[in-house]
């Protein structure tokens, strides 16, 4: 595992230098950015076991914060991104406090509604967001001392550094008592409460962290692309992020990153098929999930000697939300 991580890091560092042209660099950079968002979704879904379908909403909040602060108030990218993270986190905290009182499927559909509402607010609040037209001319990251970020390579490394920090943070989180608490909540809420864990606080924390990471990814995205439309926060974006996480392997720290590269890469490669692009992509998704139900991470994980019992997979069954025990 150690060697694997080292090798991955080495590849990631070299990659921006060897890609043939600016297009690949762009794809690479975007994949890094989306991977950050996927890591965020993994915190709430993989660690704490709550399926949030509002994720792209927070991506959009981070992105629009950077875009609007820059174009309307002249705030730099470097100040805008932290502001975007903060705003996403604050809104995530509030939304989480409300939505997390619902459980299982109810939570998933509740957050789906919240995500759609965020997206529609962005679309309709034209005086602020320019609606469908979007925000154009968002300035990218400015120079820090001698380091300039105009070039694709520099931006790619910036995204890579952010992704690496995200990975370190989520790994440390998962392996800490805080992460163990989230996992305990995922496995059984009544038991977690009975051993003195604040279930709501743990879920809310996971939700807030996931929103903050989505906000970070969104902020980077806005600065890098230079243009922002409401589709950055639509449900398709959430679904895509979910694909990255699931194909990579839910709950494992690096899984979502691998998933992002595979799925996003696949979607770019398949562009050449034109009409048949989505036919193949759709099929590929179904096959991936059928043959790797635990994602890539599951393939590399040593198999348990015991088959998974048929028992209800606790957290996503709305029916199991009954209090007390039997």
């Amino acid at each position: 595992m150690k060697y694997g991580a080292g090798a991955a890091l080495a590849i990631a560092v070299v990659l921006p230098l060897v890609v043939p042209n600016a297009y690949y660099l762009e794809i690479l950079t975007q994949a890094y950015v989306f991977a950050i968002s996927a890591c965020g979704l993994n915190v709430i879904l993989g660690f704490a076991g709550q399926l949030s379908l509002a994720h792209a909403g927070f991506f959009g909040i981070g992105a629009y914060t950077v875009a609007l602060l820059a174009t309307k108030a002249g705030v730099t990218f470097w100040a805008g991104v932290p502001a975007g993270i903060a705003l996403s986190a604050v809104i995530g905290f509030v939304v989480g406090s409300i939505c997390l009182r619902s459980k299982g499927h109810y939570f998933a559909i509740f957050t789906m509604a919240v995500g759609l509402i965020i997206n529609l607010i962005i679309q309709k609040w034209e005086s602020l967001t320019h609606g469908h037209v979007g925000v154009i001319g968002i300035p990218g990251p400015g120079a820090i001392g001698p380091i300039h970020f105009e070039s694709g390579i520099a931006r790619s490394y910036l995204a890579l550094v952010c992704l690496a920090l995200t990975l370190v943070a989520t790994t440390r989180l998962l392996r800490s008592p805080v992460g163990r608490t989230m996992v305990a909540v995922r496995e059984s809420e009544p038991l977690a409460a009975a051993i003195g864990l604040d279930v709501m606080a743990a879920k809310r924390l996971a939700f807030t962290i996931s929103a903050a990471l989505a906000g970070l990814a969104g902020g980077l995205y806005a600065g890098f692309i230079g243009f922002l439309g409401p589709e950055s926060s639509n449900i398709e974006m959430t679904f895509n992020t979910l694909l990255y996480v699931m194909v990579g392997g839910i709950g494992s720290v690096v899984g979502p990153v691998a998933g992002t590269f595979i799925v996003y890469g696949l979607s770019q490669v398949l562009q050449v098929l034109q009409h048949y692009q989505m036919v193949i992509f759709g099929l590929a998704l179904v096959l991936l999930i059928l043959f790797m139900p635990k994602g890539l991470a599951g393939v590399f994980r040593r198999p348990s000697t015991q088959p998974t019992p048929l028992a209800e997979s606790a957290s996503l069954r709305a029916g199991s939300s009954k209090k007390g025990d039997k």
Binding site: Y23, Y24, I27, I136, Q274
Partner: protein, 369 residues
């Protein structure tokens, strides 16, 4: 830009919606480009500096999402060395304009009548369709004269429709007309237009303003007629009579003003173009307006390549576009082309239509810049 076998090829890029709700529109825009490319290649290709260069159109789907347009454009320019990238929606165009002048530079073939595209002052844009305000005056005058002053409105909720509605309403009022409630709806997701039609009709309008994709617009018209509406329709330029007519009978379209179907265009070049189209696609399919406009644009740019003596230098090609449009032989034009102005707008005579007695009566529009 060149491939083996002595056969030189230049890639022309296209990024637009090829799936999802706007796929038909994207496909039509692409059709015009592909048809022009085929004709040019059949005639031996573009001759630049004594060489004959073939044109290959590479289309990529962006599902109407501007960020994907930008990524696609990068791919087309860096991977395929395309000197020109066409895009049929303003969001995508604006996103692409953000980097098209940096190296390697490329021309943005903008199929959108959104004025903002030219206002940004991008040096390498070619805007293809007429800007939409051109229709306002004639549409308003015709309907006020023939049907009355109360204008009910059921426009689409997309940005383009919003701008259209705003501009047209102002002109309507300036002519002494009354503007009723704006019942903006999403034409792409609404399943049943009856309820919005009921609402608009409850205000007893003389004329209804409608506008979105042709088929949805036709259903709005149908819903209104079925609920007894006898007045006229102002149809935004996005919807086409010939496509609407596939869903609703001409009788329902009576007293509407909108874009002139290419088949009924009074220009002799248009008639010739329609003939050519019928030969290619079958007599039962009429060319939509997008096809004829992008066909013309591709022809103009190919000619500009010849004039500039390069198939790759975007700046040089763009610089000769005006000359190319003026000197393009009639047989290559789908309608009258007047040139390309300093902002990069392709100028052409524009004719609208007023449906009277089941016939399309031409309305000649002033090219008011």
């Amino acid at each position: 830009s060149s491939s083996g076998g002595g056969n030189e090829t230049v890639t022309i890029g296209f990024t637009g919606p090829l799936s999802g709700g706007a796929a038909l529109y994207g496909r039509n825009v692409l059709d015009g480009l592909e048809m022009a490319a085929a004709d040019i290649n059949d005639a031996g290709g573009v001759s630049v500096g004594g060489r004959h260069v073939k044109i290959a159109i590479v289309p990529l789907d962006d599902r109407y999402f501007p960020n994907e347009s930008a990524t696609n454009a990068k791919r087309l320019v860096h991977q395929n060395s395309a000197p020109i990238v066409f895009c049929p929606h303003s969001g995508g165009i604006l996103a692409i304009q953000g980097f098209n002048a940096s190296e390697p530079s490329f021309i943005v073939g903008a199929y959108s009548s959104e004025p903002q595209i030219l206002e940004s002052g991008n040096p390498l844009t070619l805007m293809i369709p007429p800007k939409y305000p051109i229709y306002f005056d004639a549409f308003a005058q015709t309907m006020i004269d023939s049907k009355g002053k109360r204008l009910g409105r059921i426009p689409g909720a997309h940005a383009y429709a919003k701008e259209w509605t705003k501009g047209f309403s102002a002109v309507w009022e300036s002519k002494g007309g009354t503007v009723l409630t704006n019942n903006e709806i999403d034409y792409n997701t609404t399943t049943d237009f009856s309820s919005v039609a009921s609402k608009a009709l409850s205000e007893k309008p003389d004329v209804l303003f409608v506008g979105g994709p042709s088929q949805a617009t036709a259903l709005v018209i149908k819903a209104a007629r079925e609920q007894g509406f006898k007045g006229g329709f102002v149809v935004m330029d996005q919807a086409k009579f010939e496509e609407m007519n596939k869903l609703v009978p001409m009788a329902m379209l009576e007293n509407s003003v909108g874009v002139m179907p290419t088949v009924h265009h009074p220009d002799f070049r248009a008639a010739r173009f329609v003939e050519k189209y019928h030969l290619k696609k079958g007599a039962d399919r009429d060319p939509p307006r997008e096809v004829s406009l992008t066909y013309g644009a591709m022809r103009v740019l190919a000619r500009a390549m010849e004039l500039a003596g390069t198939a790759t230098d975007a700046r040089a090609i763009h610089a000769r576009a005006d000359e190319a449009a003026r000197t393009l032989p009639d047989e290559f034009k789908p309608s009258e082309l007047l040139g390309v102005d300093a902002t990069g707008h392709m100028m052409q005579t524009t004719v609208a239509a007023h449906v009277v007695g089941g016939k399309f009566v031409p309305l000649y529009l002033k090219q008011n810049e």
